[in-house]
């Protein structure tokens, strides 16, 4: 049998594009992050503009860091390493182009929509449904291109880095689809099909696994390819890398509920999430040790080579973050850390240290190869490394300190059994010096990223006029496999042919042909991810006792629903939670702990994940309407030291009453029992707005607010947490209001879970 060699080239043009995009978006993401850090100490930096508030810009920062910077870095890694590991050019240059330009268009769309308050409000899944559809399309193009390349490969064994890429592609697709199942209520507005507890569960199933399969597995693939390349040594233990891979795939997908400890999530789900999170520690450290031990015998190179420096610190931060993650998932630790800056420090040690440094290590290794020249300045890369490392340390040490301080102050009681710091603002002001240190650390890190960008750009400038395209040779996979091409199934049905058929199957030709496709890993990864997900999701959705019914809980009125959407647009959830945990310090501070049944009409849920400001779950009725008007106009008028930005436009921007009816219609379609109210949403909203507006005037506030957004937001805030205070026999305020306003027919609100 002949084994003729095939000649082929690699598509490095698309890798160069992804490298540039990584640098550009890296600068943007870190600059926006720095701006946000500054706004937390100087809130006036929002300049009274809605597009520049912390609540609207924070999702832009997180999306830019995750999907733009890290995303483009991982695509550069995938496109460069996969072609070489599989000995095949990408399946389709056209699909590579669709992937690159489509992804950049999605990032631009995110940058254009998030500052304008167009958001689903789910962390790392904020983008509205048209962009979600585009993400799905581009991801499919990526998947087809990637799996097509695997199918055409000339290397029989699929190296472990490619396994990590397969896990990324499959799992991100599943996560993206199921967390973004929404019903549109317009081009830029939608409501999720899940509500309350179930929505929270789906979000953190997604959110945690977005970290796992977008920021971890592809970067591990990067590590398993680029670290051996840079060190010029094979990976320390290939067996350990396989165990690392499968352990992560089996364990990661379960861990999401650890983001919801002590919330209204069922206890069993929370415990399951904790257990699997703790188990994750071992494989993660196995991977870290595997990475570091790959440098056995090459440590002297680390002192000389900035690429290896970035990789060593990156892998070390992987180890730190994956030790801390399981620790934070332990309930007693989480009780202290959750909602505090501790989580922010944890995230940034992973994002800046692991993702950032692995990405820049790769970029510095790639730049001379892709641009076929020397790196412009090795010294500048060294400077980048050192100021970046210092920047991370300043950042995380300050914010760890802030987080622990915050958590301890929230739960501190004095000798009389009362909260030591009952006024939330005391716990905010105490953190401001640490926030300034974060600004310093962030500035150093941003400076490093900019220096890196300059270095890469200058290397590009020194490129040759035309790139040399290296032609490679390798035997086709079929000939390498031998028997697969040696047999063809006969069409006749004679005895001899049947014997031939038996021989064909006995020689496992079918299996080798099947093995040529990446079905094996893809199927196993998909099964592992789906089984784990379904084990958690099905009981959460289908066992009624997980979300006990509270008859007193009623749907939001049309105006409250619109006000809730303003709360979402302004990104209030980025600073305020709506979840009182069953912990004494919280019930003392905020009131009765939150129940699962209170959230059955919350689409999307607004539990939040941090408290830069106080929890709002029980804020309804705590203050008069006028307090909210003054507070939103200028927070320092009600809380002198507040770091909340001003929202003066809420007092002048009109309520779009015509948008209310379609939103109520969608909620009704999703099963919210609006009854007759579904026919009179606008009228009801106008009447409630008029009533609140007149009450504001009675309290000494300004007149003429009956058609302004502040009234809708006030209506929503005043409703929060009030339902369970009402006796079940007592009619809802909505019914009373409607009756009083002469609606004629009160809206029929069914109680409880449907």
């Amino acid at each position: 049998m002949s084994t003729s060699l095939e000649r082929f080239t690699y598509d490095d043009a698309v890798v160069r594009k992804f490298v540039f995009a990584t640098v550009v978006w890296g600068i943007v993401a870190t600059l926006v992050g720095l701006w946000l850090a500054l706004m937390l100490v100087e809130p006036a930096l929002s300049f009274g503009l809605p597009q520049l508030t912390f609540g609207r810009l924070r999702p832009l920062h997180t999306n830019a860091a995750i999907f733009a910077f890290a995303g483009n870095a991982l695509f550069a890694a995938v496109y460069y390493s996969s072609q070489r590991l599989l000995k095949a050019r990408m399946y389709s240059d056209w699909l590579s182009g669709v992937h690159f330009w489509g992804w950049q268009a999605i990032i631009v769309a995110a940058a254009l929509t998030l500052p304008f308050g167009i958001t689903q409000s789910k962390e790392y899944a904020e983008l509205e449904w048209p962009i979600d559809v585009a993400i799905a399309v581009v991801w499919v193009a990526f998947a087809v291109n990637f799996f097509g390349t695997i199918a055409r490969r000339r290397e029989r064994h699929i190296y472990v880095a490619v396994w990590f890429y397969i896990a990324t592609i499959v799992t991100v697709a599943i996560l993206h689809i199921f967390n973004n199942l929404v019903v549109p209520a317009g081009l830029f507005k939608s409501y999720p099909i899940y509500a309350g507890v179930q929505d929270a569960f789906m979000q953190w199933w997604y959110g945690h696994n977005a970290v796992a399969f977008f920021l971890t597995t592809p970067f591990l693939g990067l590590m398993y390819y680029f670290l051996p390349k840079a060190a010029n040594r094979p990976v320390f233990s290939y067996k350990l890398s396989i165990l690392h891979f499968w352990s992560l795939v089996f364990l990661y997908i379960w861990a999401g509920p650890h983001h919801l400890h002590y919330t209204a999530l069922p206890e069993w789900a929370s415990t399951l999430g904790m257990l699997f999170s703790v188990m994750l520690w071992m494989p993660s450290w196995g991977g870290m040790i595997n990475g570091l031990l790959t440098l056995r015998g090459a440590w002297h190179k680390v002192a000389e080579d900035p690429v290896l420096k970035f990789f060593v610190v990156g892998v070390t931060f992987y180890g730190m973050a994956t030790f801390e993650g399981p620790m934070l998932s332990i309930k007693s630790v989480n009780a202290l850390s959750h909602y505090t800056d501790w989580t922010i420090a944890h995230v940034h040690s992973g994002a800046l240290g692991w993702n950032g440094f692995m990405a820049f290590g790769m970029l510095y290794w790639l730049a001379p190869r892709l641009f076929q020249t020397k790196l412009w300045s090795k010294k500048l890369a060294e400077v980048h490394f050192w100021i970046g490392t210092l920047g991370i340390l300043f950042y995380i040490v300050a914010i760890y300190t802030a987080g622990v301080t915050q958590g301890l102050m929230w739960r501190a009681f004095d000798e009389t059994g009362r909260l030591s710091y009952p006024d939330f603002i005391e716990t905010v002001v105490r953190l401001l010096p640490m926030y300034w240190v974060r600004v310093l650390g962030g500035s150093l890190y941003v400076a490093g990223v900019i220096l890196g960008g300059i270095n890469i750009f200058m290397t590009y400038k020194a490129r040759p006029k035309t790139y040399v395209e290296v032609v490679h040779e390798a035997a086709p996979l079929g000939s390498y496999m031998g028997v697969a091409r040696a047999f063809e199934l006969p069409r006749q049905r004679t005895m001899a042919d049947n014997a031939y058929r038996l021989r064909y199957f006995a020689d496992a030709g079918w299996h080798r042909a099947w093995e040529r496709l990446p079905l094996k890993f893809t199927a196993l990864v998909t099964v592992a991810v789906l089984v784990a997900s379904l084990f958690e999701i099905i009981p959460t959705f289908l066992i009624k006792s997980n979300v006990p019914t509270i008859t007193a809980v009623k749907p939001y009125t049309p105006l409250e629903l619109y006000g809730r959407d303003i709360y979402i647009e302004e990104g209030c959830y980025n600073c305020h939670s709506q979840m009182v945990r069953p912990i004494r310090s919280e019930t003392e501070r905020y009131g009765e702990y939150s129940k699962p049944g209170e959230f059955v009409y919350d689409r999307p849920f607004q539990w939040g994940s941090r408290r830069i400001g106080p929890d709002l779950a029980r804020v309804g009725g705590k203050y008069p309407h006028l307090w909210h008007v003054r507070h939103m106009d200028d927070p320092t008028s009600t809380t002198q030291q507040s770091i909340m930005p001003r929202y003066p436009w809420l007092l002048t921007d009109p309520i779009e009453f015509s948008e209310i009816q379609p939103r109520v219609d969608v909620m009704a379609m999703l099963g919210v029992p609006y009854g007759d109210a579904v026919k009179h949403a606008e009228t009801m909203a106008r009447r409630q707005a008029s009533q609140i507006s007149s009450e504001i005037v009675q309290q000494g506030g300004p007149s003429g607010l009956e058609d302004k957004k502040i009234v809708a937001l006030t209506a929503y805030l005043q409703r929060l947490g009030t339902d369970i205070k009402r006796r079940e026999s007592e009619p809802s305020s909505d019914v009373r209001r409607s009756a009083r306003l002469g609606e004629g027919r009160a809206p029929v609100f069914g109680g409880g879970v449907q």
């Binding site: 390493s81 070489r84 590991l85 000995k87 290397e155 064994h157 190296y159 472990v160 880095a161 398993y224 390819y225 051996p228 390349k229 010029n232 040594r233 094979p234 990976v235 290939y238 067996k239 396989i242 165990l243 499968w246 352990s247 089996f250 364990l251 379960w254 069993w268 415990t271 399951l272 257990l275 001379p368 190869r369 076929q372 020249t373 020397k374 790196l375 412009w376 300045s377 090795k378 010294k379 200058m458 020194a462 290296v470 490679h472 390798a474 592992a528 089984v531 784990a532 084990f535 099905i538 009981p539 959705f541 289908l542 066992i543 009624k544 006792s545």
Partner: protein, 74 residues
């Protein structure tokens, strides 16, 4: 009767333990596969894959020729 009624009556208190056992079993199978002698040759070859097929960059070529990696002066 709805699916949620069936699920609610199923009594799935042991659910987490079943999941844990299933995944532990899968992990043991993978560990056995990894340790199996029959696969050692494949793994050893796979370990070297990243180093087997990439052309040297200009800088590396020069380094291998001159034993030094100088920077291009800006």
């Amino acid at each position: 009767m709805r699916l949620s009624d069936v699920m609610s009556a199923a009594g799935l208190a042991f659910y987490a333990e079943v999941a844990l056992a299933l995944f532990m079993l899968a992990f043991v199978l993978i560990a056995v596969t990894v340790i199996a002698r029959a696969n050692q040759e494949t793994f050893e070859r796979a370990r070297w894959l990243p180093l087997s097929n990439d052309p040297l960059s200009v800088g590396e070529r020069e380094q291998s020729m001159h034993g030094d990696m100088n920077e291009v002066k800006p």
